[in-house]
Amino acid sequence: MSPSTAIYAAVALPLVGAALVVSLRRWPNLREAASLITGGALFGVVLSLLPHVQSGARPEAQVVEVMSGLWLAFKVEPLGMLFALVASGLWIVTTTYSIGYMRGQHEVDQTRFYAWFAIAISAAMGVAMAANLLTLFTFYELLTLSTYPLVTHHRTEKAMRAGRVYLGILLGTSIGFLLLAIIWTYYLAGTLDFRPGGILAGTADNWVIVVLLALFAFGTGKAALMPFHRWLPAAMVAPTPVSALLHAVAVVKAGVFSIMKIVVYIFGIELLHDTGLSIWLMYAAAFTIIAASLVALTKDNLKARLAYSTISQLSYIVLGAAMATSAGVLGGSMHIAMHAFGKITLFFCAGAIYVVAHKTDISDMRGIGRTMPITMTAFFIGALSIIGLPPMGGAWSKWFLALGALEAEKAIFVAVLMISSLLNVAYLMPIVARAFFVAPAEPAPGDDDFAGAPQGTVLGANGGSSIKEAPVFCLVALCATAAGCLALFFFADDLYQLLTPIVNP
Amino acid sequence: MRDQAVPRVVAKLLIPYILLYAFYVQWHGDYGPGGGFQAGVIFAAAIILYALIFDLRTAQQAIRPRVVGLLVPLGLLLYIGVGIATMLKGGVFLEYGVLEHDPVHGQHLGILLIELGVGTTVAGVMITIFYGFAEAVSDR
């Protein structure tokens, strides 16, 4: 398969998958199989692009000229390669997990769920491989719209309200700020292509650059920079696989990915570094890091706590971008992958707990590690990665971010990173501790509460009925991602090698 | 007014002359004031007078609404037909000069025909409009 065919295939395959899902709606097993197979195929296609990118090639595909000189076009560079790999890889895992979760929960309208999920992945592929801002924006909006039916999956009053916040903030920022910034950029630079070294240098006054950076940073609502973060906690009403999609696979990643890409290929690191115009963005990101962590501490609902954790973690990436140093950008980019694996593990675990024990509040989760040891072990691993401790992948990205801060001669942000890590410990570890070391409230875990979870997989004969894990599909998925957290620690060098060209073109 | 003899008699005397005058105005528009439009209006006025003096139903029996309904499109079609004829004869739309060998004669013929078209449609429409309103009155 030629590289450009592979690009088309990457965007089109999920759409084909969606069509298959819809046409197989009467046979759930076939339908899920179709999802999985498309996922596998997509991952294979994306993987086939990797050698090209590693060897320094930048595969391209031009689809259609939208306006004179403005193409809908794709071009794969390392950053996009990374995002595409993460999104397509995690799609398989998430689909696996969804099979267990959606069936375990007896969710309605599963066909619609799988179909829109696939469309969202297609949009994510488009974002990852966009060759210019126009294409990026197009798929960015498509991603927003295709995830709206997922966020509002339950069609309840609550879901509708969450959907309003979701759509309001994401569409509002993207149309109000991002589009304005894009057209302004086009007016200034005469092009919207992502070019190494940026396209804005020398085209505008400093104040314009600052305003543009602000429009881009806040316009990318998916990056959840405060104060435009409300949509993320609101969207927790959705089923857990959707949360996984939002927090790890595609949506927020698309946001921070866009910011990273805009900083690197539109502004150019040198422009921002030399002028120091992005310093305010570093403070804004630092504020979000600390503030969101503090809010996370106060949340008892597990998904809400994780949501605020995500907001905080995303700003790591924004911070890395705003530093505009090579280490900062690399750290931020790596964190896209690291956080994805860590956070998806945590959400999978939260979902598994909900499926098995119907618990959502952390205060109710005493001793749950005794009944769900595998799940909670995975949770522990994921938490370690988020905190940034070796031997988990998250350690590397924090390391590079700290290096970047030093490189930018802003030691204060090293302190921010340290404080944030401590806060991470403070809001994640108690959950693990409570799960393993505190005795459950009910004397016997086998009664009413647990009996209500018919799909639970009962493991091991020796523990009697005391061990009751999530459905096997869920279990496989969360183990895989936990293993991924570990693996990323050891294969970080490959990641580093892949990403280096973006800072040393 | 149906019961009054004088208007009825006067009308009976007048209406043929009004109609005649309408035709005069129709055909004489090239030379003096007047033309298809005025002729159509006068023709309609005669019918309206007839309906006012006698009875709507009587008038409608003399000039049936269905016939009037035919006059309306036919007039316009005649007009357009002249235009199409000029196109078929190799001219542009409404270029009457091509209708005959001598352009001036062609013009004359064209004008006569289109004035007839205008008169037909105008008379038809005016009577239709009057019938519409008058029926609304008689429905009450």
């Binding site: 069609r155 569409l171 149309i175 589009l179 | 196109m87 270029e95």
Partner: protein, 496 residues
């Protein structure tokens, strides 16, 4: 031979068909005739477009008299573009209409009258667009206006009558203002041909009479196109007219008025007079902006969805006028391309409303509960049109906004750019109200009737043709923005 007569055929086809409807009368025959004729008319306009693109402007001397003594038809890129829009919408709506009017005009057993008026309206609109003669504009303006009053009055609700009446009063005042303007120009130049007029106006451009004529023409056209604050007739007219009529008029009538405004500004008076001397944008831009904002806001609070869309139309007229008021190539391109794009999307939205009226009898927001499941294709078309109205990429609405925002930024008017984008967000609000009701709420229990079904294919197919156009022209714009750009350049007299 046919080639030479294309400009007149454009008008002649519907004009012949209208009286034929009165002669034929048979419902099926007349319907078939109307559909066939509108499609042929559309084909003619496409052929005209192709010819103009190849050979430049076409002139057709009616009656064989050269202008300024006779009447001239003049087709340039801009008028060909508008002709394609008007005739295309005319064909699609005519194809869509039979099922709809059989339900909405049940008491009019004489449907041939409807099609006769419809074809006359089409004739009028096409005639305004194609002519190069000022007085001929007035005549065809009245053909389209009179027929649209009548068409609107055919609505089921009795308010259709009052809406038609106030439209008639406002429209006639507008037309009379235009007539006064034409008269004053004639007094000062002695000619009615637009090109000749443009030439002769240069000598008398300083006179007070010409300035007053300019003002009267603008006010008259603004009344016709419902420019804020002269829009008061529009919401009721669109809300209570039969759905087919609303869809047709919303996509064409106001657009033709905008076209007329462009003609007057740029062809007749010329850029120098309109913008350098009269500083027209000082009036137009604030009006457009206030119109965009207030009409969008009012739309948010409407419960009759046709009325909501009508207010949205007033706002969209604001966009077009805004584009004109920039008086730059990108601004005009934005205005002209939005004229076309808005025609497509508003027609789709109103056709979707028509399908809902067909099945549910009303477009009150409560009626739309659960329609997302009951009428999936209709609602999907509505969503597509709505997304385009919002300006989501890959839809035509995005293209329009792109050009308008770009034009605003080019002139350093970034607050204006902000207003354009902010009002898109208002569009999100009013479109999403409908989407939430349609997809999140349970259908109302209808007693004694089965559940609402999807509209018939005869309505869905024409509607989805437009949806396809929304996406097609949203992705590749060579045929819309490209042509609009050429038209803008030729209006401004610059080489593109």
């Amino acid at each position: 031979m046919i080639d030479n007569h294309l400009p007149i055929l454009q008008i002649l086809l519907p004009l012949v068909a209208a009286p034929l409807c009165l002669l034929l009368r048979h419902r099926v025959v007349v319907t078939a005739l109307a559909i066939a004729v509108t499609w042929v008319t559309f084909a003619v306009s496409v052929a005209l477009m192709a010819t103009v693109l190849q050979q430049g402007p076409i002139s057709y001397e009616l009656g064989g008299w050269p202008p300024p003594w006779g009447i001239e038809y003049r087709v340039d890129i801009l008028s060909a573009f508008v002709l394609v829009l008007v005739s295309g919408i005319g064909a699609v709506v005519a194809t869509w209409s039979p099922a709809s009017i059989s339900v909405e005009l049940p008491r009019y057993e004489r449907h041939y009258l409807f099609y006769c008026a419809y074809l006359l309206c089409l004739t009028g609109l096409l005639g305004i667009t194609i002519t190069g003669d000022m007085f001929n504009v007035f005549v065809f303006l009245e053909i389209s206006a009179l027929s649209s009053y009548v068409l609107i009055s055919m609505g089921q609700d009795r308010r259709a009558l009052t809406a038609a009446y106030s439209y008639l009063i406002m429209g006639t005042l507008g037309a009379t203002f235009i007539l006064i303007g034409i008269g004053l120009l004639y007094i000062m130049t002695g000619t009615l041909n637009m090109a000749d007029l443009a030439l002769r106006l240069q000598d008398v451009a300083d006179t007070r009479t010409v300035i007053v004529a300019f003002a009267f023409l603008i006010v008259g056209v603004s009344l016709k196109m419902a420019l804020f604050p002269l829009h008061l007739w529009l919401p009721n007219a669109y809300a209570y007219a039969p759905s087919a009529v609303t869809a047709f008029l919303a996509a064409t009538a106001t657009k033709v008025a905008v076209y007329l405004l462009l003609r007057f500004f740029f062809t007749v008076f010329g850029y120098d007079f309109s913008f350098d001397r009269m500083q027209l944008w000082i009036v137009l831009m604030p009006l457009a902006l206030i119109g965009i904002l207030t009409a969008s806001l009012v739309a948010v609070f409407q419960n009759n969805i046709k009325r909501m869309l009508a207010y949205s139309s007033v706002a969209q007229i604001g966009y077009m006028v805004l584009g004109i008021s920039f008086a730059s190539v990108s601004g005009l391109t934005g205005g002209v391309v939005h004229l076309f794009n808005h025609g497509l999307m508003k027609c789709t939205l109103f056709l979707a409303m028509g399908c809902i009226v067909y099945r549910c009898g009303s477009v009150h927001i409560d009626e739309m509960r659960g329609l997302g499941r009951r009428m999936p294709w209709t609602m999907a078309a509505f969503v597509a049109g709505g997304l385009s109205l919002i300006g989501v990429p890959m839809t035509v609405g995005f293209i329009s906004k792109w050009f308008l925002v770009k034009a605003a930024l080019e002139q350093g008017l970034w607050p204006v750019a902000g207003v354009i984008l902010f009002s898109s967000l208002l569009a999100v609000v009013y479109i999403w109200r409908v989407i939430e009701v349609a997809y999140f709420e349970e259908p109302l229990a209808v007693d004694g009737q089965g559940p609402v079904r999807e509209a018939p294919l005869s309505m869905l197919i024409p509607m989805w043709v437009l949806v396809a156009a929304i996406f097609y022209f949203g992705v590749t714009t060579e045929l819309t923005a490209g042509i609009a750009q050429q038209a803008a350049a030729s209006l401004l007299g610059v080489v593109p």
